[in-house]
Protein backbone atom coordinates (compact mmCIF):
# COMPACT_ATOMS: atom_id res chain seq x y z
CA UNK A 1 0.00 0.00 0.00
CA UNK A 2 1.33 3.40 -0.98
CA UNK A 3 0.16 6.59 0.72
CA UNK A 4 0.99 10.19 -0.02
CA UNK A 5 0.04 13.40 1.72
CA UNK A 6 1.11 17.00 1.74
CA UNK A 7 0.73 20.13 3.82
CA UNK A 8 2.14 23.65 4.02
CA UNK A 9 3.74 24.84 7.25
CA UNK A 10 4.53 28.46 8.00
CA UNK A 11 8.05 27.74 9.25
CA UNK A 12 11.40 27.56 7.45
CA UNK A 13 12.34 24.25 5.78
CA UNK A 14 15.45 23.88 7.94
CA UNK A 15 13.31 23.97 11.07
CA UNK A 16 10.71 21.47 9.85
CA UNK A 17 13.47 19.22 8.55
CA UNK A 18 15.32 19.33 11.89
CA UNK A 19 12.15 18.43 13.78
CA UNK A 20 11.52 15.44 11.54
CA UNK A 21 15.14 14.35 11.45
CA UNK A 22 14.96 13.97 15.21
CA UNK A 23 12.92 10.81 14.65
CA UNK A 24 12.00 10.62 18.32
CA UNK A 25 9.59 13.51 17.57
CA UNK A 26 7.52 11.45 15.12
CA UNK A 27 5.16 9.91 17.73
CA UNK A 28 4.02 13.39 18.81
CA UNK A 29 2.02 13.65 15.59
CA UNK A 30 1.96 10.21 13.89
CA UNK A 31 -1.00 8.36 15.34
CA UNK A 32 0.28 4.82 14.70
CA UNK A 33 3.56 5.32 16.57
CA UNK A 34 4.04 4.95 20.28
CA UNK A 35 7.78 5.48 20.41
CA UNK A 36 10.79 5.96 18.17
CA UNK A 37 14.24 5.69 19.69
CA UNK A 38 17.47 6.54 17.93
CA UNK A 39 19.84 3.56 18.18
CA UNK A 40 22.65 5.02 16.10
CA UNK A 41 23.39 7.90 13.79
CA UNK A 42 21.11 6.57 11.07
CA UNK A 43 19.37 3.67 12.80
CA UNK A 44 16.33 3.67 15.05
CA UNK A 45 13.83 1.40 16.82
CA UNK A 46 10.12 2.06 16.16
CA UNK A 47 7.25 0.84 18.38
CA UNK A 48 3.69 0.86 17.06
CA UNK A 49 0.62 1.97 18.97
CA UNK A 50 -1.80 -0.79 19.96
CA UNK A 51 -4.50 -0.32 17.30
CA UNK A 52 -1.85 -0.64 14.62
CA UNK A 53 -1.07 -4.18 15.83
CA UNK A 54 -0.10 -4.99 19.39
CA UNK A 55 3.57 -5.43 20.24
CA UNK A 56 4.85 -4.53 16.81
CA UNK A 57 8.32 -3.06 16.83
CA UNK A 58 10.88 -2.79 14.10
CA UNK A 59 14.27 -1.34 13.31
CA UNK A 60 14.67 1.27 10.61
CA UNK A 61 17.52 2.87 8.82
CA UNK A 62 17.87 6.25 7.13
CA UNK A 63 18.88 5.76 3.53
CA UNK A 64 19.30 9.34 2.48
CA UNK A 65 19.32 12.69 4.23
CA UNK A 66 19.71 16.08 2.60
CA UNK A 67 19.46 18.77 5.27
CA UNK A 68 16.47 21.06 4.74
CA UNK A 69 15.32 19.02 1.73
CA UNK A 70 14.72 15.33 2.10
CA UNK A 71 14.83 12.25 4.35
CA UNK A 72 14.26 8.64 3.22
CA UNK A 73 14.11 5.60 5.45
CA UNK A 74 13.28 1.92 5.31
CA UNK A 75 12.49 -0.77 7.87
CA UNK A 76 15.02 -3.56 8.44
CA UNK A 77 14.55 -6.78 6.49
CA UNK A 78 12.94 -8.66 9.40
CA UNK A 79 10.12 -6.16 10.11
CA UNK A 80 6.62 -7.62 10.64
CA UNK A 81 5.18 -4.90 8.43
CA UNK A 82 7.93 -3.93 6.01
CA UNK A 83 7.69 -0.19 5.30
CA UNK A 84 9.59 2.67 3.79
CA UNK A 85 9.12 6.41 3.63
CA UNK A 86 10.33 9.60 2.04
CA UNK A 87 9.62 13.12 3.16
CA UNK A 88 10.56 16.15 1.09
CA UNK A 89 10.62 19.77 2.22
CA UNK A 90 10.30 22.44 -0.44
CA UNK A 91 9.95 26.20 -0.09
CA UNK A 92 6.39 27.42 -0.79
CA UNK A 93 5.88 30.25 -3.29
CA UNK A 94 5.21 32.75 -0.46
CA UNK A 95 8.91 32.64 0.47
CA UNK A 96 8.00 31.99 4.12
CA UNK A 97 6.36 28.57 4.32
CA UNK A 98 7.51 25.04 3.61
CA UNK A 99 5.65 22.39 1.65
CA UNK A 100 5.95 18.96 3.20
CA UNK A 101 5.43 16.03 0.83
CA UNK A 102 5.40 12.56 2.33
CA UNK A 103 5.18 9.14 0.69
CA UNK A 104 4.92 5.92 2.71
CA UNK A 105 4.90 2.36 1.43
CA UNK A 106 3.59 -0.52 3.57
CA UNK A 107 3.95 -4.15 2.63
CA UNK A 108 0.91 -5.45 4.51
CA UNK A 109 1.29 -9.12 5.45
CA UNK A 110 -1.46 -11.71 5.99
CA UNK A 111 -2.51 -13.01 9.43
CA UNK A 112 -3.58 -11.07 12.52
CA UNK A 113 -0.99 -8.35 12.14
CA UNK A 114 -2.03 -7.68 8.58
CA UNK A 115 -5.66 -7.55 9.69
CA UNK A 116 -4.90 -5.10 12.51
CA UNK A 117 -2.96 -2.83 10.16
CA UNK A 118 -5.68 -2.98 7.50
CA UNK A 119 -8.32 -2.19 10.14
CA UNK A 120 -6.24 0.69 11.43
CA UNK A 121 -6.08 2.30 8.01
CA UNK A 122 -9.76 1.63 7.34
CA UNK A 123 -11.56 2.49 4.16
CA UNK A 124 -9.77 5.74 3.57
CA UNK A 125 -6.15 5.04 4.45
CA UNK A 126 -4.87 8.44 3.27
CA UNK A 127 -7.06 10.12 5.93
CA UNK A 128 -4.67 8.86 8.62
CA UNK A 129 -1.68 10.41 6.99
CA UNK A 130 -3.54 13.65 6.28
CA UNK A 131 -4.37 13.86 9.99
CA UNK A 132 -0.75 13.08 10.91
CA UNK A 133 0.42 16.01 8.81
CA UNK A 134 -2.26 18.30 10.25
CA UNK A 135 -0.86 17.52 13.69
CA UNK A 136 2.72 18.08 12.51
CA UNK A 137 1.56 21.49 11.31
CA UNK A 138 -0.11 22.21 14.68
CA UNK A 139 3.04 21.27 16.55
CA UNK A 140 5.36 23.29 14.29
CA UNK A 141 3.14 26.37 14.12
CA UNK A 142 1.57 26.43 17.59
CA UNK A 143 3.77 24.20 19.75
CA UNK A 144 1.25 21.47 20.52
CA UNK A 145 -1.44 19.16 19.19
CA UNK A 146 -4.73 21.00 19.66
CA UNK A 147 -7.35 19.41 21.93
CA UNK A 148 -11.08 19.99 22.16
CA UNK A 149 -13.67 18.58 24.52
CA UNK A 150 -15.08 16.39 21.75
CA UNK A 151 -11.58 15.22 20.78
CA UNK A 152 -9.50 15.68 23.94
CA UNK A 153 -6.75 13.15 23.38
CA UNK A 154 -4.71 14.85 20.72
CA UNK A 155 -3.50 12.32 18.25
CA UNK A 156 -5.78 9.65 19.64
CA UNK A 157 -8.73 11.82 18.62
CA UNK A 158 -9.59 9.85 15.57
CA UNK A 159 -12.41 7.79 16.93
CA UNK A 160 -15.25 7.86 14.48
CA UNK A 161 -18.39 9.81 15.28
CA UNK A 162 -20.06 10.09 17.69
CA UNK A 163 -17.28 11.61 19.76
CA UNK A 164 -17.67 12.36 23.44
CA UNK A 165 -19.96 15.37 23.86
CA UNK A 166 -18.48 18.86 23.68
CA UNK A 167 -18.52 19.38 27.44
CA UNK A 168 -15.64 19.50 29.93
CA UNK A 169 -14.04 16.24 31.06
CA UNK A 170 -14.75 14.70 34.43
CA UNK A 171 -11.92 13.91 36.84
CA UNK A 172 -12.28 10.22 36.02
CA UNK A 173 -12.00 10.86 32.29
CA UNK A 174 -8.99 13.11 32.80
CA UNK A 175 -7.24 10.51 34.94
CA UNK A 176 -7.96 7.78 32.42
CA UNK A 177 -6.84 9.94 29.50
CA UNK A 178 -3.60 10.96 31.14
CA UNK A 179 -2.56 7.31 31.23
CA UNK A 180 -3.40 6.69 27.59
Amino acid sequence: MELTATTTIRRPATEVYAFWRDLENLPTFMAHLQEVRATGDRTSRWVADAPFGKDIAWDAEILEERPGEKISWRSAADADVPNAGTVRFTPAPDGISTEVHIALVYDIPGGTIGKAVAKYFGEEPHQQLDDDLRRLKQVMETGEVVRSDGAPWGKRAREEFPQRPAQPLSDAELAKGAGR
Binding site: D94, E141, T142, V146, A151, Q167
Partner: protein, 391 residues
Protein backbone atom coordinates in the same frame (compact mmCIF):
# COMPACT_ATOMS: atom_id res chain seq x y z
CA UNK B 1 -20.95 23.85 36.90
CA UNK B 2 -24.25 24.63 35.16
CA UNK B 3 -24.36 24.83 31.39
CA UNK B 4 -26.93 25.06 28.63
CA UNK B 5 -26.66 21.95 26.49
CA UNK B 6 -28.06 20.57 23.26
CA UNK B 7 -30.55 17.85 24.10
CA UNK B 8 -31.66 16.76 20.66
CA UNK B 9 -33.43 18.55 17.85
CA UNK B 10 -35.44 21.54 19.09
CA UNK B 11 -34.38 20.96 22.69
CA UNK B 12 -31.92 22.62 25.03
CA UNK B 13 -31.47 21.85 28.69
CA UNK B 14 -29.48 23.44 31.50
CA UNK B 15 -27.54 20.62 33.17
CA UNK B 16 -24.70 19.93 35.56
CA UNK B 17 -21.44 19.28 33.72
CA UNK B 18 -17.84 19.10 34.94
CA UNK B 19 -15.87 22.35 35.32
CA UNK B 20 -13.46 23.02 32.45
CA UNK B 21 -9.70 22.56 32.86
CA UNK B 22 -6.60 23.58 31.00
CA UNK B 23 -5.98 20.99 28.24
CA UNK B 24 -3.42 22.87 26.14
CA UNK B 25 -0.62 25.08 27.42
CA UNK B 26 -2.02 28.24 25.86
CA UNK B 27 -5.54 27.77 27.29
CA UNK B 28 -7.28 29.95 29.83
CA UNK B 29 -10.38 29.29 31.87
CA UNK B 30 -12.87 32.15 31.99
CA UNK B 31 -15.61 32.67 34.59
CA UNK B 32 -18.47 33.89 32.47
CA UNK B 33 -20.29 37.05 33.50
CA UNK B 34 -22.47 37.50 30.39
CA UNK B 35 -23.33 35.32 27.41
CA UNK B 36 -25.91 35.52 24.64
CA UNK B 37 -28.14 33.49 22.36
CA UNK B 38 -27.42 33.91 18.64
CA UNK B 39 -29.33 33.20 15.42
CA UNK B 40 -26.60 30.64 14.70
CA UNK B 41 -27.64 28.76 17.84
CA UNK B 42 -31.11 28.43 16.31
CA UNK B 43 -29.64 26.68 13.25
CA UNK B 44 -27.93 24.22 15.63
CA UNK B 45 -31.03 23.64 17.72
CA UNK B 46 -33.22 23.26 14.64
CA UNK B 47 -30.82 20.59 13.42
CA UNK B 48 -29.66 22.32 10.22
CA UNK B 49 -26.00 22.19 11.14
CA UNK B 50 -25.02 18.52 11.40
CA UNK B 51 -22.78 16.81 14.02
CA UNK B 52 -24.37 18.20 17.19
CA UNK B 53 -24.43 15.65 20.01
CA UNK B 54 -26.56 15.23 23.09
CA UNK B 55 -24.82 17.06 25.92
CA UNK B 56 -22.83 19.53 23.80
CA UNK B 57 -22.46 22.80 25.71
CA UNK B 58 -23.87 25.59 23.53
CA UNK B 59 -22.95 29.23 23.12
CA UNK B 60 -20.27 31.19 21.30
CA UNK B 61 -20.92 34.75 22.49
CA UNK B 62 -19.44 35.24 25.95
CA UNK B 63 -17.22 37.32 28.20
CA UNK B 64 -15.96 37.20 31.72
CA UNK B 65 -12.99 37.09 34.03
CA UNK B 66 -9.86 34.98 33.56
CA UNK B 67 -9.54 32.59 36.51
CA UNK B 68 -6.75 30.32 35.27
CA UNK B 69 -4.10 30.47 32.53
CA UNK B 70 -1.98 27.73 30.99
CA UNK B 71 1.81 27.74 31.45
CA UNK B 72 2.54 29.12 27.95
CA UNK B 73 0.27 32.16 28.15
CA UNK B 74 2.59 35.13 28.53
CA UNK B 75 1.68 37.35 31.48
CA UNK B 76 1.87 40.51 29.39
CA UNK B 77 -0.83 39.08 27.13
CA UNK B 78 -3.23 37.77 29.73
CA UNK B 79 -3.34 37.11 33.44
CA UNK B 80 -5.73 35.90 36.09
CA UNK B 81 -8.20 38.65 36.93
CA UNK B 82 -8.29 40.17 33.42
CA UNK B 83 -11.72 41.00 32.05
CA UNK B 84 -12.07 39.68 28.50
CA UNK B 85 -14.45 39.35 25.58
CA UNK B 86 -13.86 36.07 23.73
CA UNK B 87 -14.18 35.96 19.90
CA UNK B 88 -16.25 33.02 18.62
CA UNK B 89 -13.76 31.60 16.07
CA UNK B 90 -10.78 29.95 17.75
CA UNK B 91 -7.60 31.08 15.99
CA UNK B 92 -3.96 30.12 16.49
CA UNK B 93 -2.42 33.36 15.26
CA UNK B 94 0.42 31.49 13.55
CA UNK B 95 -0.86 29.78 10.39
CA UNK B 96 -1.15 31.30 6.93
CA UNK B 97 -4.88 31.95 7.34
CA UNK B 98 -4.28 33.83 10.60
CA UNK B 99 -1.40 35.74 8.99
CA UNK B 100 -3.89 36.87 6.34
CA UNK B 101 -6.37 37.81 9.13
CA UNK B 102 -8.75 35.05 7.97
CA UNK B 103 -9.24 33.93 11.54
CA UNK B 104 -12.44 31.91 11.01
CA UNK B 105 -10.47 29.82 8.50
CA UNK B 106 -7.59 29.12 10.94
CA UNK B 107 -5.80 25.98 9.79
CA UNK B 108 -4.87 24.64 13.22
CA UNK B 109 -7.75 24.94 15.67
CA UNK B 110 -10.18 22.30 14.42
CA UNK B 111 -9.28 18.80 15.67
CA UNK B 112 -12.04 17.49 13.38
CA UNK B 113 -10.59 19.20 10.31
CA UNK B 114 -10.87 15.95 8.36
CA UNK B 115 -14.67 16.00 8.63
CA UNK B 116 -14.95 19.71 7.84
CA UNK B 117 -12.74 19.16 4.81
CA UNK B 118 -15.07 16.47 3.48
CA UNK B 119 -18.03 18.84 3.72
CA UNK B 120 -16.45 22.11 2.70
CA UNK B 121 -13.47 21.11 0.52
CA UNK B 122 -11.04 22.62 3.01
CA UNK B 123 -11.29 22.72 6.80
CA UNK B 124 -12.51 25.67 8.87
CA UNK B 125 -11.49 26.95 12.30
CA UNK B 126 -12.74 25.60 15.61
CA UNK B 127 -15.74 27.47 17.04
CA UNK B 128 -17.08 27.41 20.61
CA UNK B 129 -20.32 25.48 21.09
CA UNK B 130 -20.93 25.02 17.40
CA UNK B 131 -21.06 21.31 16.52
CA UNK B 132 -18.32 18.74 16.13
CA UNK B 133 -17.77 19.79 12.52
CA UNK B 134 -16.06 22.87 13.94
CA UNK B 135 -14.06 20.97 16.51
CA UNK B 136 -16.34 19.84 19.34
CA UNK B 137 -15.45 22.72 21.68
CA UNK B 138 -17.70 23.28 24.70
CA UNK B 139 -19.44 26.65 24.46
CA UNK B 140 -20.02 29.67 26.63
CA UNK B 141 -23.65 29.42 27.78
CA UNK B 142 -22.19 28.19 31.04
CA UNK B 143 -20.58 29.35 34.24
CA UNK B 144 -17.07 28.71 32.95
CA UNK B 145 -15.38 28.03 29.63
CA UNK B 146 -12.01 26.81 28.49
CA UNK B 147 -10.54 29.22 25.94
CA UNK B 148 -7.78 27.78 23.72
CA UNK B 149 -5.12 30.14 22.33
CA UNK B 150 -6.06 32.58 25.06
CA UNK B 151 -3.00 34.64 24.16
CA UNK B 152 -4.38 35.26 20.65
CA UNK B 153 -8.12 35.92 20.64
CA UNK B 154 -9.56 37.41 23.83
CA UNK B 155 -9.84 41.19 23.98
CA UNK B 156 -9.03 42.75 27.34
CA UNK B 157 -11.52 45.35 28.53
CA UNK B 158 -9.66 47.84 30.64
CA UNK B 159 -12.26 50.58 30.86
CA UNK B 160 -15.40 50.44 32.98
CA UNK B 161 -17.80 49.81 30.08
CA UNK B 162 -20.69 47.55 31.13
CA UNK B 163 -20.79 43.94 29.90
CA UNK B 164 -23.78 44.87 27.72
CA UNK B 165 -21.72 47.44 25.84
CA UNK B 166 -18.90 45.07 24.88
CA UNK B 167 -20.36 41.54 24.93
CA UNK B 168 -21.37 41.63 21.27
CA UNK B 169 -17.76 42.21 20.20
CA UNK B 170 -17.60 38.40 20.55
CA UNK B 171 -19.62 37.92 17.36
CA UNK B 172 -22.58 39.88 16.08
CA UNK B 173 -21.17 43.41 16.07
CA UNK B 174 -18.04 42.40 14.11
CA UNK B 175 -20.23 40.15 11.93
CA UNK B 176 -22.63 42.96 11.04
CA UNK B 177 -19.67 45.25 10.48
CA UNK B 178 -17.89 42.76 8.23
CA UNK B 179 -21.12 42.39 6.25
CA UNK B 180 -21.05 46.13 5.60
CA UNK B 181 -17.30 46.32 5.07
CA UNK B 182 -17.44 43.63 2.37
CA UNK B 183 -19.82 45.98 0.48
CA UNK B 184 -17.06 48.53 -0.07
CA UNK B 185 -19.58 51.28 0.66
CA UNK B 186 -19.47 54.56 -1.30
CA UNK B 187 -21.22 57.76 -0.17
CA UNK B 188 -23.89 57.42 -2.87
CA UNK B 189 -24.76 53.83 -1.97
CA UNK B 190 -28.15 52.52 -1.04
CA UNK B 191 -27.63 49.41 1.08
CA UNK B 192 -30.41 46.84 1.60
CA UNK B 193 -30.16 44.45 4.53
CA UNK B 194 -32.28 41.28 4.63
CA UNK B 195 -33.02 40.29 8.22
CA UNK B 196 -33.64 42.71 11.09
CA UNK B 197 -32.37 40.25 13.68
CA UNK B 198 -29.38 41.23 15.82
CA UNK B 199 -26.88 40.63 13.02
CA UNK B 200 -28.95 42.56 10.50
CA UNK B 201 -29.40 45.51 12.90
CA UNK B 202 -25.63 45.77 13.35
CA UNK B 203 -25.04 45.43 9.60
CA UNK B 204 -27.41 48.40 9.12
CA UNK B 205 -25.70 50.53 11.78
CA UNK B 206 -22.31 49.66 10.30
CA UNK B 207 -23.43 50.55 6.77
CA UNK B 208 -24.47 53.95 8.12
CA UNK B 209 -21.18 54.40 9.98
CA UNK B 210 -19.30 53.48 6.79
CA UNK B 211 -21.11 56.26 4.96
CA UNK B 212 -24.06 54.76 3.07
CA UNK B 213 -26.58 57.28 1.75
CA UNK B 214 -29.58 55.16 2.68
CA UNK B 215 -30.05 51.87 4.54
CA UNK B 216 -33.07 49.62 4.01
CA UNK B 217 -34.22 46.96 6.49
CA UNK B 218 -36.18 43.94 5.18
CA UNK B 219 -38.00 41.58 7.56
CA UNK B 220 -41.51 40.48 8.41
CA UNK B 221 -41.57 41.12 12.16
CA UNK B 222 -43.10 44.58 12.71
CA UNK B 223 -41.32 45.07 16.03
CA UNK B 224 -37.94 44.29 14.52
CA UNK B 225 -38.62 46.65 11.63
CA UNK B 226 -39.67 49.33 14.10
CA UNK B 227 -36.42 48.84 15.97
CA UNK B 228 -34.53 49.38 12.71
CA UNK B 229 -36.62 52.42 11.91
CA UNK B 230 -35.90 53.95 15.32
CA UNK B 231 -32.22 53.61 14.46
CA UNK B 232 -32.77 55.57 11.26
CA UNK B 233 -33.19 52.80 8.66
CA UNK B 234 -36.03 52.39 6.15
CA UNK B 235 -38.31 49.41 6.90
CA UNK B 236 -39.71 47.04 4.27
CA UNK B 237 -42.08 44.28 5.39
CA UNK B 238 -41.78 41.37 2.99
CA UNK B 239 -45.14 39.97 4.05
CA UNK B 240 -46.89 43.19 3.15
CA UNK B 241 -45.19 44.34 -0.02
CA UNK B 242 -43.34 42.80 -2.94
CA UNK B 243 -39.72 43.28 -1.95
CA UNK B 244 -38.33 43.73 -5.44
CA UNK B 245 -40.90 46.37 -6.44
CA UNK B 246 -40.42 48.24 -3.19
CA UNK B 247 -36.64 48.22 -3.57
CA UNK B 248 -36.93 49.54 -7.14
CA UNK B 249 -39.22 52.26 -5.89
CA UNK B 250 -36.76 53.24 -3.15
CA UNK B 251 -33.84 53.38 -5.61
CA UNK B 252 -35.33 55.04 -8.69
CA UNK B 253 -35.42 51.70 -10.48
CA UNK B 254 -31.68 50.98 -10.07
CA UNK B 255 -31.89 48.41 -7.30
CA UNK B 256 -29.79 48.67 -4.14
CA UNK B 257 -26.08 49.17 -4.85
CA UNK B 258 -25.15 46.77 -2.07
CA UNK B 259 -27.20 43.91 -0.63
CA UNK B 260 -26.52 42.14 2.66
CA UNK B 261 -28.01 38.72 3.50
CA UNK B 262 -28.25 38.60 7.30
CA UNK B 263 -30.77 35.74 7.34
CA UNK B 264 -29.11 32.59 6.05
CA UNK B 265 -30.36 29.07 5.58
CA UNK B 266 -33.65 29.23 7.48
CA UNK B 267 -35.20 32.07 5.54
CA UNK B 268 -38.96 32.12 5.21
CA UNK B 269 -40.60 33.13 1.98
CA UNK B 270 -43.57 35.28 1.01
CA UNK B 271 -44.43 33.04 -1.93
CA UNK B 272 -45.97 29.79 -0.72
CA UNK B 273 -45.10 27.97 -3.94
CA UNK B 274 -41.33 28.43 -3.79
CA UNK B 275 -41.30 28.08 -0.01
CA UNK B 276 -42.94 24.67 -0.27
CA UNK B 277 -40.51 23.56 -2.96
CA UNK B 278 -37.49 24.36 -0.79
CA UNK B 279 -39.04 23.03 2.43
CA UNK B 280 -39.74 19.69 0.79
CA UNK B 281 -36.26 19.47 -0.67
CA UNK B 282 -34.79 20.39 2.72
CA UNK B 283 -36.92 17.79 4.47
CA UNK B 284 -35.76 14.99 2.16
CA UNK B 285 -32.18 16.28 2.43
CA UNK B 286 -31.94 16.95 -1.32
CA UNK B 287 -31.12 20.52 -0.34
CA UNK B 288 -29.85 21.52 3.07
CA UNK B 289 -30.43 25.27 2.87
CA UNK B 290 -33.39 27.49 2.00
CA UNK B 291 -31.82 30.25 -0.07
CA UNK B 292 -34.79 32.60 -0.53
CA UNK B 293 -32.88 35.64 0.66
CA UNK B 294 -29.74 34.90 -1.31
CA UNK B 295 -31.82 34.53 -4.47
CA UNK B 296 -33.77 37.70 -3.82
CA UNK B 297 -30.65 39.71 -3.00
CA UNK B 298 -28.97 38.62 -6.23
CA UNK B 299 -32.05 39.39 -8.31
CA UNK B 300 -32.53 42.80 -6.65
CA UNK B 301 -28.96 44.10 -6.61
CA UNK B 302 -28.07 46.68 -9.24
CA UNK B 303 -25.71 45.56 -12.02
CA UNK B 304 -22.10 45.64 -10.87
CA UNK B 305 -23.19 45.68 -7.21
CA UNK B 306 -22.09 43.60 -4.27
CA UNK B 307 -24.05 40.86 -2.50
CA UNK B 308 -22.53 40.34 0.93
CA UNK B 309 -23.56 37.15 2.74
CA UNK B 310 -23.21 36.91 6.51
CA UNK B 311 -26.28 34.74 7.11
CA UNK B 312 -25.05 31.20 7.61
CA UNK B 313 -25.33 28.49 4.95
CA UNK B 314 -24.43 24.94 5.82
CA UNK B 315 -24.46 22.74 2.79
CA UNK B 316 -26.17 22.62 -0.57
CA UNK B 317 -28.79 24.75 -2.17
CA UNK B 318 -30.88 24.66 -5.27
CA UNK B 319 -31.87 27.16 -7.97
CA UNK B 320 -28.92 29.46 -7.45
CA UNK B 321 -29.45 32.38 -9.90
CA UNK B 322 -26.09 32.00 -11.58
CA UNK B 323 -27.30 33.77 -14.71
CA UNK B 324 -28.13 36.99 -12.89
CA UNK B 325 -24.92 36.84 -10.93
CA UNK B 326 -22.73 36.29 -13.98
CA UNK B 327 -24.42 38.38 -16.65
CA UNK B 328 -24.86 41.42 -14.42
CA UNK B 329 -21.31 41.52 -13.07
CA UNK B 330 -22.28 41.02 -9.44
CA UNK B 331 -19.69 40.39 -6.75
CA UNK B 332 -20.53 37.82 -4.11
CA UNK B 333 -18.61 38.10 -0.83
CA UNK B 334 -19.04 36.10 2.35
CA UNK B 335 -17.50 34.46 5.40
CA UNK B 336 -17.86 33.46 8.98
CA UNK B 337 -16.71 36.62 10.66
CA UNK B 338 -12.98 37.11 11.24
CA UNK B 339 -13.88 38.58 14.61
CA UNK B 340 -10.31 39.10 15.88
CA UNK B 341 -9.76 41.57 13.00
CA UNK B 342 -12.54 43.90 14.18
CA UNK B 343 -12.64 43.74 17.98
CA UNK B 344 -10.23 46.56 18.78
CA UNK B 345 -11.40 49.05 16.14
CA UNK B 346 -15.03 48.41 17.05
CA UNK B 347 -14.30 48.82 20.76
CA UNK B 348 -13.00 52.24 19.73
CA UNK B 349 -16.24 53.01 17.91
CA UNK B 350 -18.26 51.96 20.99
CA UNK B 351 -16.14 54.14 23.26
CA UNK B 352 -16.49 56.99 20.78
CA UNK B 353 -20.28 56.65 20.85
CA UNK B 354 -20.55 55.87 17.12
CA UNK B 355 -22.13 52.47 17.73
CA UNK B 356 -24.46 51.50 20.57
CA UNK B 357 -24.64 47.71 20.81
CA UNK B 358 -27.03 47.82 23.78
CA UNK B 359 -29.90 49.05 21.62
CA UNK B 360 -30.87 45.51 20.57
CA UNK B 361 -31.05 43.89 24.02
CA UNK B 362 -34.66 43.11 24.90
CA UNK B 363 -34.25 40.33 27.47
CA UNK B 364 -31.80 39.57 30.25
CA UNK B 365 -32.35 36.20 31.93
CA UNK B 366 -30.48 33.99 34.37
CA UNK B 367 -28.61 31.13 32.67
CA UNK B 368 -31.03 28.74 34.35
CA UNK B 369 -33.74 30.12 32.06
CA UNK B 370 -31.82 29.50 28.85
CA UNK B 371 -34.55 27.24 27.54
CA UNK B 372 -37.12 30.01 27.88
CA UNK B 373 -34.66 32.41 26.26
CA UNK B 374 -34.39 30.12 23.24
CA UNK B 375 -38.19 29.91 23.00
CA UNK B 376 -38.63 33.68 23.18
CA UNK B 377 -35.91 34.33 20.61
CA UNK B 378 -36.88 31.59 18.22
CA UNK B 379 -40.62 32.23 18.26
CA UNK B 380 -40.20 36.02 18.38
CA UNK B 381 -42.37 36.19 21.48
CA UNK B 382 -42.61 39.23 23.72
CA UNK B 383 -40.89 41.34 21.02
CA UNK B 384 -37.67 39.45 21.61
CA UNK B 385 -34.64 40.69 19.65
CA UNK B 386 -31.62 39.60 21.71
CA UNK B 387 -31.32 37.57 24.89
CA UNK B 388 -28.42 38.04 27.29
CA UNK B 389 -27.92 35.27 29.86
CA UNK B 390 -26.33 35.75 33.27
CA UNK B 391 -24.64 32.65 34.69
Amino acid sequence: MRANTWAGRNKVEVRDVPDPRILNKRDAVVRITSTAICGSDLHLVDGYVPTMQDGDVMGHEFMGEVVEVGPDVAAERLRVGDRVVVPFPIACGACNACAAELYSCCENTNPNAGIAEKMFGHPVAGIFGYSHLTGGFAGGQAQYARVPFADVGPLKIESDLADEQVLFLSDILPTGYMGAEMCDIQPSDVVAVWGAGPVGQFAMDSARVLGAAKVIAIDKEPYRLEMAERAGHIPVNFEEVDVRSRLLELTGGRGPDKCIDAVGLEATHGSAHIATYDRVKQAVRAESDRPHVLRQAIMSCRSGGVVSVIGVYGGLLDKFPAGAWMNRSLTLRTGQCHVQRYMKPLLGRIEGGELDPTRIITHTLPLEEAERGFELFKNKEDHCEKVVLKP
